[in-house]
């Protein structure tokens, strides 16, 4: 099958296009998704192609339009709600946590909320303290939600359709720095599962666990380490809730050392949860404590060099691996 050259955002647009074409119940709504083509240009051209009933611009009120999306889902539609960034989702947290995640349980199963929410997340573009959060780890704390983080073109292209098929809410986190990444996508690329982690690179020296925007960071570190004779497993979690314990533990059983890379702040982060699970399930395999490489515990700086210093970097990840392997 011949491949197509495209970017992550184009892959996501293709996914939207496919969903809108195949299922009449699907529609997209959010701020600037229509006339503007989406804040990150993901829905560029879709308004022209599918019309204002299917591509709906909303007012600047997250709580309102997420609530409307929940209502539409309950009524039988398959809405895709786009919240511009995870930062603004804070304004819709009550809707997401107390309605979307919980109505199925509170109604004794009578109500389902087959809602998909897409959000941009992450830092690295000098958007400073209020606009650079990575809160997918927080959302992964909530029962009733499925949390996914596509990091590759295949996942950007394939996770949406599978998410729309889920009878319960799915939150898709797209890291802002990934939109411009390009590559070759197979011509018959289609839906992918949203249950399993995938090992993107193999090696027995140590296990690096990561997801989303820090996957390129981890792979870069792995490349550097390979030059020193340390080959590592790099696990792309893909789904943050529920976590694919089996893949993680299986890898740690082989390598005996783990480093988790998470763009959230360390304390109470997803990396802490993963570290706990590794300790619970594979303590007797560990040859060194589990290390975590996370964002510095500060509000994200605006100045470029400070922002870079605060975020996980390939050399920091490589150092952490060297430490657990005992070469430091």
């Amino acid at each position: 099958m011949s491949g197509v050259q495209l970017t992550y955002r184009e892959a996501m647009r293709e996914a939207l296009r496919e969903a809108l074409t195949r299922d009449d119940r699907v529609f997209l709504m959010g701020e600037d998704v229509g006339r503007y083509g989406g804040c990150f240009a993901v829905s560029l051209g879709l308004l022209e192609e599918f019309g204002p009933e299917r591509i709906r611009d909303t007012p600047l009120s997250e709580s309102a339009f997420v609530g409307a999306g929940i209502g539409a889902a309950i009524a039988g539609m398959r809405p895709i709600v786009e919240i511009m960034t995870v930062n603004f989702s804070m304004l819709a947290l009550d809707q997401i946590l107390n309605n979307a995640a919980t109505l199925h349980h509170m109604s004794g199963g009578q109500i389902s909320v087959p809602l998909v929410i897409r959000m941009t997340t992450g830092a690295g573009r000098q958007l400073a303290a209020q606009h650079s959060h990575s809160l997918e780890g927080w959302y992964a704390h909530i029962p009733g939600l499925r949390i996914v983080a596509p990091a590759t073109l295949e996942d950007a292209r394939g996770m949406l359709w599978t998410a729309l098929g889920d009878p319960d809410p799915v939150l898709i986190f797209e890291h802002g720095s990934l939109y411009g990444t390009s590559g070759t996508l197979s011509g018959d690329a289609g839906p992918v599962d949203i249950d399993h982690a995938v090992i993107r690179r193999s090696g027995d020296g140590a296990t690096i666990v990561t997801y989303g925007g820090t996957l390129p960071t981890a792979l870069s570190a792995a490349e550097e380490l390979a030059g020193e004779g340390i080959d590592v497993d790099v696990i792309d979690l893909r789904t943050l809730r529920p976590l694919d314990d089996a893949t993680i533990i299986d890898s740690v059983r082989r390598t005996h050392r783990a480093v988790i890379v998470d763009e959230g702040w360390r304390s109470g982060s997803l990396s802490a949860e993963i570290s706990a699970r590794i300790t619970e399930q594979a303590l007797y395999e560990l040859d060194a404590p589990v290390r975590r490489v996370c964002t510095a515990e500060v509000p994200m700086p605006y100045a470029k060099h400070l922002e870079e210093a605060a975020l996980p970097r390939p050399d920091g990840v490589a150092d952490a691996v060297r430490e657990v392997v005992g070469r430091r």
Partner: protein, 426 residues
């Protein structure tokens, strides 16, 4: 005293180039030793501080004798480059650079005195290795908060498991130094096994690999060892009656199986008759002083292992039985210790359970004998001049003709069957 030549078995210490208290590093020359051929320098293979010189110059000692003891250095400091860094030509006496006390300004020295910190024990983190106030403070803190000496060494969970598997005594391991904890690499270094990534092999592959190894070994055995075979039938009536009677008093798990009787008898025969217990190495037979009895264990799913029960000739039957049970269990689970895999001095195969009457086995090189036992069968037998029925087991000896001949082989089997006729001596 290292072995510095293939045929060297002793050496004379000519001269010591270090003194107790000296710090040595990997590669430093420690002494000059005379062999029958030439004077050779002995180098140090690890960093440390010389504790005691045990052999004085002029003394001749066998290879393997401890010549000196070293204490591991806390921080093996790199020798500071001095102006005359050129090593003097050997064999003139060479004093390795002693560790100079690092530079410390007057304020630092004052602080050290106040806090009771010995400057000689502090590693400087300042410019050119100078000691800073922070260094002194840290040293003082370390002193006031001594590492809890509850006798508890930090061992990583994986290292602990490995030590158990490889039969390494944790008490003998000094931590690698990085964080004061013992890690897998430290265990492997002691056990002499390099890290091989443990990919979960599909069961078939493992079995095939094992078969391939066994195949190679068997081919080599047949190629190199001139086998001869002797067979004898042993009347097990007395032995089985005796163990039967004993077992009546014992709970099921403690009962002695006939297998244990056969093993012990074999071990005693191997000890009594020379030429069957040991190894053929470098074109000669090296008799072993103890009998480590190899047991051929069939694994479920195929494959054969032959681990050893150590010191089998000295164990009482109950202990031997327990060791056998434990060994077979661990062999089937793939959890054998290295010593068990490599130490057998003679092997026993086929404890008669598979219904074969007679076994003509292939010797496992570098051993020189293999004993096989067939199934215990009720057979017509002459008893006191009359025809009776007795439990008979066929014992076979496969032996290396380079070491023994039919005469010794017959004696071996004679001792073996004799022991089985007097089970109380087992």
């Amino acid at each position: 005293m290292p072995s510095l030549g293939a045929d060297m078995d002793q050496g004379t210490v000519v001269e010591w180039l270090v003194r107790p208290g000296d710090t040595v590093h990997k590669g430093d020359i420690m002494a000059v030793v005379d062999t029958t051929k030439a004077a050779v320098e002995v180098e140090c293979f690890t960093a440390g501080v010389v504790q005691e010189l045990l052999v004085e110059p002029g003394r001749t000692v066998p290879v393997g004798t401890v010549l000196a003891t070293l204490a591991p250095a806390e921080s093996a400091a790199e020798p500071e480059p001095t102006a005359q860094a050129v090593p003097e030509p050997r064999p003139a006496t060479q004093k390795p650079a002693a560790r100079k006390p690092a530079a410390a300004g007057p304020q630092v020295r004052k602080l050290a005195a106040e806090l009771g910190v010995d400057l000689a024990t502090v590693r400087g983190s300042g410019k050119a290795g100078a000691i800073t106030r922070a260094d002194i403070q840290q040293a003082a803190e370390r002193k006031s908060k001594p590492v809890p000496t509850s006798g508890r060494t930090k061992v990583s969970p994986y290292a602990r498991r490995l030590a158990d598997e490889l039969g390494v005594d944790l008490a003998t391991i000094t931590p690698g130094g990085r964080d004061g904890a013992v890690h897998a690499a430290d265990i492997r270094a002691t056990a002499g096994r390099p890290e091989t990534p443990r990919r979960p092999q599909p069961k078939r592959d493992r079995v095939e690999a094992m078969r391939a190894t066994t195949a190679g070994l068997m081919a080599r055995s047949k190629r190199e060892i001139p086998h001869y075979y002797l067979t004898t039938s042993v009347d097990m009536f007395i032995a089985l009656e005796w163990s039967h009677k004993r077992n009546r008093e014992l709970p099921v798990p403690d009962r002695i199986l006939p297998a244990a009787l056969l093993l012990k008898a074999t071990a005693l025969a191997a000890k009594a008759v020379p030429g069957f217990n040991g190894h053929w190495i470098d074109d000669r037979f090296e008799s072993a002083s103890t009998v480590h009895l190899g047991i051929a264990v069939a694994m479920r799913g195929g494959g054969l292992a032959a681990p050893a029960i150590l010191d089998a000739s000295e164990l009482d039957l109950t202990t031997l039985m327990a060791r056998l049970r434990d060994l077979v269990k661990r062999a089937r689970a793939g959890r054998l210790r290295r010593t068990e895999m490599t130490s057998a001095t003679i092997t026993v195969t086929n404890l008669g359970d598979l219904g074969v009457d007679t076994v003509h086995g292939v010797i496992y090189p570098p051993q020189v004998a293999l004993v096989g036992f067939g199934k215990v069968l009720e057979r017509p037998w002459a008893v006191d001049g009359l025809l009776g029925v007795r439990p008979i087991v066929t014992a076979t000896l496969s032996a290396d003709h380079r070491v023994t001949d039919g005469h010794s082989g017959a004696r071996f089997l004679d001792v073996l069957s004799g022991r089985l006729r007097e089970p109380e001596t087992l």
